[in-house]
Amino acid sequence: MSEQELKYPGVNADPTIVGTALATRGLHKEFGGVAAVDQLTLDVPTGSFFGLVGPNGAGKTTTLSMVTGLLRPDSGHAYIAGHDVWADPVGAKTRMGVLPDGLRLFERLSGMELLTYLGRFRGMPLDQVTSRATELLKVLDLTDAGDKVVADYSTGMRKKVTLAAALLHSPRVLLLDEPLEAVDPVSARVIRHVLTRYTTGGGTVIFSSHVMALVEELCTHVAVMAHGRLAAVGTLAEVRGAAASLDDAFMHLVGADDRGSGGLEWLRSSSA
């Protein structure tokens, strides 16, 4: 399904309308004259588990960076629960939780200290921060590691403690960039479980991923990005269409059906 054929909110819908967790309108960003995100207009319904998929360089991270206030767009707008991220940052930032990919944390704080600090930095009461942080660490299976410095955490532990930080202030929308990338199976399962519980409780999860099986398993809605634009967007069933799997549909949408075939005949005559 193309962007113009959306059945839910739609490109011309009011971005501040109730029921829209994230809306972008003509979001655009160029690097060195090349559009990384090209006039992106997107609506994410409240309560959905929304997967943002695309090949490397499709513009997923750039999009998430712009809607979380970490990267200024060249033009266009982004709204979180009806609040313009750039014009009303207080309204938007109190309603979003963020888990970026590959960024550092305050490495010399322990997991518990990191959560306590971030909660207090946001102005939350100390007792509330302490009780929520303790509970989050327990649910995310980090209680034993809670008093160790983040610098010594594994990738899975770092993702989990960042997720805890994103959830600490009880936001309405979670924006996660590759939350399960390079995460061990046990941690991945814990993260998936927590995210599912979050959406069941009315929260909205928007996450980027390369792993189609994961998106197919978790998501209610999907947007496929390629070359900074939306190649398709809709419910999982709509985007998958007649294809056997989301993976097949994705390959077709990004024009990668025949990639990896041809050439390499010399491999058959390997001398090893």
Binding site: L70, V98, G102, L109, E113, F121, L126, T130, D152
Partner: protein, 526 residues
Amino acid sequence: MVALFVSLKWHLLTGRIRTASPVKRAGTVAGLVLVVLLAAAAAFGLGMLRQFPTYAVTTGALLLASQLVAWMLTPLIAFGVDETLDPHRFALLPLRRGDLLRGLTVSAMIGWLPVANLVVLVGVAVMISPTWGVLPVALICMALQLLMIVGLSRAASTALADLMATRRGRDLGMFVGFGVFLLYFAASLGLGQVSSGSGLGVGVSTAGRILAWTPPGALARIPTLVHDGDLGLAAVLLLVALAGIVGGYLWWASALRRSMESGPSTTESSSLAGDHDFGPAGAGTVRVVATRDRLLVWRDPMRRLPWLMVMVFIVLWPFLVVRGHGSLFAVAFGALMTGTQVGNQFGVDGSGMWLHLVAIGDRTRARGEMLGHLVVVLIPGSVLVIAGVVLHAVIRDDVAWVPAALGVCLAGLIGSAGVAAYMSAAKPYAMPQTRTSMFASAAPQHKSRSLVVALSVLLGGLALALPAVVGAVLTVAVAPAWGWVGLVLGPAVAAALAWNLVQRGSTRYFEQGPEIFAAVRIGDRS
């Protein structure tokens, strides 16, 4: 195989120059030529010392031993600067250990630092040759010295490669850097005392005599012994030197075997940090941020070592530059340096800055963060500066000048802290986030930017302290009472101006947060 390693090292060395702009390329080449010229000047100076045979051998032994220590410490301070130092990079290549040793030995001698060392060694050879006839012997000794420092430094770096790949190893590297910094001060003090013939100078001379029996010291003595016809002792010392060289290469070979057969551990034991409330229940942003910074100063060597350096500048440095009355005014430089600790506050967090950025929605919180960074420097900084001034006043009997000196120092501290806070937002620069060296304070792309910031903070801080400086001049030239005027007026004016700069800086931070973030996150890849 040796040619391949030489080619690899050459490409690593010239890679950055090749990709630089013509202006930067010309600057780099000019800088390298300057280094070699300086080394040549040093070599010439050392050569002149041969006219004083009594000092030549002792100086030679000290120099060669120091050179060996420097080469062995360099990988600890700057591991990662030379990619060929890391043996794990070669682990999967089909290479015999002998080939690797030969290749790495030759490649270690290629570069601007080895060239500068070689030039200095030629100077040492001239210095320790009583006559031109024994110069060939001295040159052979220097060749052996070069072989020894390469072998031992490579052995040390290979043995420490696993450690340096860990957080603790990098922390250790930072402390070694501080040790070198302290040694510099001790050496400066020591050399100053040698000329005055005091007890410390005698100690240095004794150290020279002891070092004469170590491998580098032995190499420094051999030419004189050959000249004097004492060939027996010369042979013994040659054996001592050769034992050092062979021992170094055996150590290197053994470390290389261990290192290539085992990778660094990915499950290092973790440090316990505990938990922290970041201030009482009602604490605001300023207090919470300041408490975090204070905690990190204790835990993070990257933040702690600058404070140790500042203490050296406040307590020791004035003794070096002012050898009599008035050293308390020299504390002002340490005060200015203390203010620089507020500098580049976003670069220090690196890409971790995102944690603040996604939570800051208004100017008030942005200002709170900036003030938090400022407070954690101003409070302990003021205590240090006051203690430094009082200490120097008591030791030098300059108590009458204390108010004036305090005025200058506190105004300088507040002024430079204010400028540093503003510059953090106006000209942020990336800092390498996994650095091993306390001297690598800016990412390569931002070296010049960090220099501009450092100069702006020092000069700006001084400018903001001008009323106090005038008070100090009047104190010395007219009457001590002017010191009280400087003490009251100087810090007050500096504080007012610094407050204004913090307001401007926090507004800029709030408005330009994403751009600052884009600049400082480069440090993750440096």
